[in-house]
């Protein structure tokens, strides 16, 4: 146990000096600075600091209870932080409402796919686009033509993206009657309709069968090439290591290290964090 104790000391050192994550990135979409959140005595996020560079697929891994989901909830505004700062595109969004943060271009998905009762898949997709004229009650009656045009355009976009995802055959299926994996694809597709600059995916591959998982990885890679930045939490090491670069490792609420998949996999502190501690 001396090893792990030593690594703990190293950890606390590194977090106070903020060298755990690479903070010299050039084009930063998301900057998380010294973020703290505790639930009673449990410090779920402990001075977490890292950056996500535009155009990357950044992985966020860590053992169970490392505080990955808490961190996501803090960044996306679902939890209020105790201290620290979150910036999206240089704008301070700390403790803003989730919909405000979404307006700044940060969209998230959820670990357990959310089902929309009573909607078809394409209907559920149409919730995605932001700032639709038809979302204003007044415009429904004063300007129905612009509502119609936008709805038409959104529906075309939705069907196009379903086709790109090769799930267009599901378009008119009830959103509650598709498989868990398909639901994840739909959720990713819907999030894309919101035109995010950075998309936070919370365990996109969890509970998805291997065929769909490959498809999902392929789609994430394709969307990334088209310009979307991704930050993803993942437990499936194979999935995340093949997809993400760089990878940030979280342990007990703070950033343990950041590096390429190879560096991370061969780092002793990471192995310690996963096996012992």
């Amino acid at each position: 146990m001396t090893d792990s104790q030593a690594s703990q000391v190293a950890n606390s050192d590194s977090s106070s000096e903020e060298v755990a994550a690479n903070m010299d990135k050039e084009n930063v979409v998301l900057r998380v600075d010294d973020l703290v959140k505790s639930f009673g005595a449990l410090v779920a996020t402990d001075h977490a600091t890292f950056e996500v560079e535009r155009g990357t697929i950044t992985g966020l891994i860590g053992p169970n209870g490392a505080g990955k989901s808490t961190l996501f909830n803090l960044i996306s505004g679902f939890y209020e932080s105790d201290a620290g700062r979150v910036e999206v595109n240089g704008t301070d969004v700390t403790d803003m409402e989730p919909y405000d943060i979404a307006d700044h271009g940060l969209i998230r998905t959820f670990q357990t796919p959310r089902k929309l009762e009573g909607m078809t898949v394409r209907e559920a997709m149409l919730v995605g686009p932001r700032e639709q004229p038809g979302e204003s009650f007044i415009k429904l009656f004063t300007d129905p033509e612009s509502v119609r045009q936008r709805e038409q355009q959104n529906l075309d976009d939705a069907e196009q993206i379903l086709e790109d995802f090769e799930i267009d055959h599901l378009a008119t299926q009830p959103a509650t009657k598709i498989s868990g994996g398909q639901l994840k694809l739909v959720e990713l597709a819907r999030a894309m309709l919101a035109e995010p600059e950075i998309l936070l995916l919370d365990e996109p591959a969890a509970g998805v069968n291997p065929t769909l998982r490959n498809k999902l990885a392929e789609q994430i890679r394709r969307l990334n090439e088209q310009g979307t930045t991704f930050l993803l939490i993942e437990h499936d090491m194979e999935f995340v290591m093949s997809l993400a670069d760089p990878v940030i490792v979280l342990d007990r609420g703070h950033v343990l290290m950041e590096g390429t998949p190879d560096e991370v996999q061969n780092d002793e502190r990471v192995i310690d964090a996963y096996l012992g501690g």
Binding site: R108, F110, R114, V127, P174
Partner: protein, 395 residues
């Protein structure tokens, strides 16, 4: 579905309906036949019949209002009676001759006063509770209903207290032509009925005018709601109902949407109250009894939460049960008094409904996308409305 489509090809129209729609259509046709039979044989007096239609329209309006809140958005509002009462008292205090504060204003002014009061009340209760989880609104609204009732009962210098407000004019009072319509219409004697001669006198024409009022209120509300339900606005509301966190993550200001839905629903409920005041020509604090809230919830659940047609249907069924049970006493072979058992009957219906058809009789059947954008709207299988509510798992 226009009337022309039905007339052109009734068979195709019929087969295009879902089973639930066919069942309900059949039921309605049967019911109408029964009523017409009652009218023709003289069991049902025409004036009383029109009064019942007005009452059913009133319940339908209340159900449409609650459907916006609960059916679309998932807001649990147990103060339907309060908004109904605010509507009734709003117009009564503005237009009645015995009103202690204003009085003798035109009923249209009363309508506007009622709507304004309902909107203010909805905002006041919505501002503190709509940011919280759904449960808090439910609890607060139970309290609100009682607070409003007790204020009306006790603030005598403003509301006349327990003696109520008398001397409310009919809705068309002060309108050209329509004001004197019941007086100017001749008494028509209908003598070709098997049940004997029925003379249609002034009360009949007044009742007919009341039906015109409620039907136009319903038509206006239904027009607004149908468009809203199929719009992106309605879609956000339905997303909030299924999963508020998802809506927030996608950049929707859910508090604002919930407030809009809550106010809209409350306005429609107040509209029902306005109609009631001008139908009954007298309002008293007893009209705000919580039983109204209970009936309206039953109507919405029965019709199918989230469905406008279901709400209309539910409103009519409630009146059919409420008033129809009176007639059962006419059957002498039933050895006990049935009318007092109607609450039990409604309870049994709810239990059966929840057991065998939890989604209601006429749940939303079709995809809700802005009309003319899609022409091949597929049928949707029935889906239950009871699901995980937002905020319960936030992982």
């Amino acid at each position: 579905m226009s009337v022309r489509e039905i007339a052109d090809d009734p068979k195709a129209y019929w087969s295009g309906l879902t089973r639930a729609e066919q069942g309900v259509s059949g039921f309605i046709i049967g019911f109408v036949v029964l009523l017409v039979g009652g009218l023709f044989t003289g069991i049902l007096a025409p004036t009383y019949f029109l009064f019942l239609v007005g009452l059913a329209g009133m319940y339908s309006l209340l159900s449409l209002g609650l459907n916006v809140q609960w059916g679309y958005t998932g807001l649990i509002n147990f103060s339907v009676a309060a908004f109904f009462g605010i509507g009734a008292y709003g117009t009564a205090l503005a237009s009645a001759s015995s009103s202690p504060i204003a009085g003798n204003l035109a009923p249209v002014v009363g309508l506007l006063v009622a709507l304004a009061l309902a909107a203010i009340l909805a905002l006041l209760i919505g501002i503190p509770t709509l940011r919280l989880r759904a449960d808090y609104l439910a609890i607060a609204s139970i309290g609100l209903a009682e607070v409003v009732r007790i204020i009306i009962l006790n603030e005598e210098q403003v509301t006349n207290g327990s003696s109520g407000v008398r001397g409310i004019p009919a809705f068309f009072d002060g309108w050209p032509l329509l004001e004197t319509f019941p007086q100017t219409m001749p008494n028509i004697a209908v003598s070709w009925l098997p049940g004997g001669t029925v003379v249609l006198r002034q009360p009949f024409w007044s009742a007919l005018l009341n039906v015109v009022v409620v039907v136009s209120f319903i038509a206006a509300s239904y027009f607004v709601l149908r468009r809203a339900h199929r719009s992106p606005w309605g879609r956000v509301l339905r997303t909030i109902r299924s999963d508020e966190d998802l809506a927030r993550a996608l950049g929707k200001n859910t508090y604002r949407y919930k407030m809009q839905a809550f106010v809209l629903g409350s306005l429609i409920m107040a509209l029902a109250g306005v109609f009631y005041a001008h139908l009954n020509l007298f309002v008293a604090p007893g009209d705000l009894d919580p039983i109204t809230t209970f009936y309206v919830w039953v109507a919405v659940m029965l019709g199918g939460s989230g469905s406008n047609r279901g709400a209309l249907f539910g409103g009519f069924v409630i009146v059919a049960i409420r008033e129809g049970t009176r007639f059962l006493n006419a059957f002498e072979f039933i050895p006990f008094d049935i009318a007092p058992l109607r609450l039990l009957l409604i309870g049994v219906i709810i239990v059966l409904l929840m057991r065998f058809r939890p989604q209601g009789v006429l749940p939303p059947q079709r995809e809700l996308i802005w009309p003319s954008v899609v022409d091949d709207a597929p049928e949707q299988p029935d889906s239950g409305v009871r699901g995980a509510k937002a905020g319960e798992n936030d992982d």
